[in-house]
C-alpha cells in the first residue's frame, strides 16, 4: 500500500510526459547546413608523389669520366620484377601464380640491398614499355616504404645495347 502511494507521487504528470520539443529551428539549421556541407565535401582524397627523371630522358646518356656511382634500380617488366645495380641484376622476382607482381618480395629484397648501396636514399624505378602505369606507382610506393626518399623514374631498355 505504501509502495503504491509512493509510485503515484513520483509518477510525472501526464501533461509533462506528452510535452513536445519544438525541433523546427533545428530542422531549419539542418536544411541550410547540409547542402553547404555537401557542396564542400571531398569524397576522394588525392595525394602526389614527387619524382625526378633523367635529364635527357630516353636518350643515350653521355658517359661521365671516371667510375660511375651506381644507384639501386627496380626493374619492372611484363614478366618479372628485378633489383639491379647498373647492369648487374641482383634479384629477379617472377610474377606470382595469380599473375600479380611480387611486391612483398621486392620490399624484402630492397631491405637487404639498401644498406649495401652507395646511395641508400635514392632509387630508380625503370619501367619497360607495355607495363601499366599503376604498377610503376606501386613500385614507387614500395621504394618509399623501404626508406628511399629520392625516387627517380625512367624507361627501361628492352635491349640495353639499343640505348632506348
Amino acid at each position: 500500500m505504501r509502495n503504491l502511494s509512493l509510485y503515484k507521487m513520483t509518477r510525472p504528470p501526464s501533461d509533462l510526459s506528452e510535452a513536445d520539443v519544438d525541433v523546427t529551428p533545428v530542422m531549419n539549421m539542418f536544411v541550410i547546413l547540409i547542402p553547404f556541407l555537401v557542396s564542400m565535401a571531398v569524397f576522394t582524397q588525392v595525394a602526389i608523389i614527387d619524382f625526378s627523371v633523367p635529364p635527357d630522358a630516353g636518350q643515350p646518356a653521355a658517359q661521365p669520366a671516371g667510375k660511375p656511382k651506381l644507384k639501386l634500380t627496380v626493374l619492372l617488366t611484363e614478366s618479372f620484377l628485378g633489383v639491379a645495380e647498373g647492369e648487374n641484376l641482383l634479384d629477379s622476382l617472377p610474377l606470382l601464380a595469380n599473375g600479380e607482381y611480387a611486391f612483398d618480395s621486392l620490399k624484402r629484397a630492397l631491405a637487404v640491398r639498401r644498406p649495401q648501396s652507395e646511395f641508400p636514399d635514392e632509387i630508380v624505378v625503370a619501367v619497360r614499355d607495355g607495363v601499366a602505369f599503376k604498377h610503376a606507382v606501386k613500385a614507387m610506393d614500395v621504394g618509399r616504404e623501404s626508406g628511399f626518399t629520392k625516387i627517380g623514374v625512367s624507361g627501361a631498355a628492352a635491349d640495353p645495347s639499343a640505348g632506348k
Binding site: 556541407l37 565535401a41 569524397f43 625526378s52 614499355d129 602505369f133 616504404e145
Partner: protein, 157 residues
C-alpha cells in the same frame, strides 16, 4: 497511424492536430551532418581529377599542390585544357617527343614555375601503357620542366 500522430490518440472522434513523428528524421540528419563534417574540405580545388581518369592508388600522404597539369586519359593527352595528342597514336609513335605537347608546355611554362623551376603534375589513368607516360615525361623535360609529380588516390579512401 500511431507513428504519425500521438496527439490524435487522445481524440478518437477525430479533429486532433496532425503531428508527424520526426525523431527518426532528426536522427538521420544528425548522422548525415557528422559524415559531411568529416569529409568537409576548404581546399578541394587544388587539383581535381577529371571524371574520365581512373587514378592509381598509392600509400602516399603528401598533399596535392597547385601546379600545371598534364592529363593522360585512355583516349587523349590534355595540357592546359586543350587536347594535344591521341593516346593510341603516341603509343604507336617511335618518337620520344610529342611535338604539340612540347609547344604547349613551352607556352605554359612561365605559369608553371615553383621555386623558380618548371613543375608539372601528371594525372594519368592507371591502365595507360608506361610507354605513353615516358614520352610525356621526355617531352616535358625537353620543354624545360624540372620537377615532376604524379597525382594518386590515397589508398583506403
Amino acid at each position: 497511424m500511431r507513428l504519425l500522430s500521438r496527439r490524435s490518440d487522445g481524440h478518437e472522434g477525430g479533429g486532433g492536430v496532425f503531428r508527424p513523428q520526426i525523431t527518426s528524421l532528426v536522427d538521420v540528419m544528425t548522422i548525415l551532418l557528422v559524415f559531411l563534417i568529416k569529409n568537409f574540405s576548404v581546399d578541394s580545388d587544388v587539383v581535381s581529377p577529371p571524371p574520365n581518369v581512373d587514378l592509381p592508388l598509392s600509400t602516399s600522404q603528401k598533399p596535392a599542390q597547385p601546379r600545371c597539369a598534364v592529363t593522360i586519359t585512355k583516349d587523349e593527352i590534355i595540357a592546359g585544357d586543350r587536347v594535344v595528342a591521341v593516346t593510341a597514336d603516341v603509343e604507336k609513335s617511335d618518337s620520344l617527343v610529342i611535338e604539340p605537347l612540347r609547344a604547349m608546355m613551352a607556352a605554359l611554362l612561365p605559369g608553371c614555375m615553383v621555386d623558380e623551376s618548371g613543375s608539372v603534375v601528371i594525372l594519368c589513368d592507371k591502365d595507360v601503357n608506361f610507354a605513353v607516360v615516358k614520352k610525356v615525361m621526355s617531352t616535358c623535360s625537353k620543354a624545360g620542366v624540372v620537377n615532376y609529380s604524379i597525382l594518386v588516390l590515397k589508398e583506403g579512401d
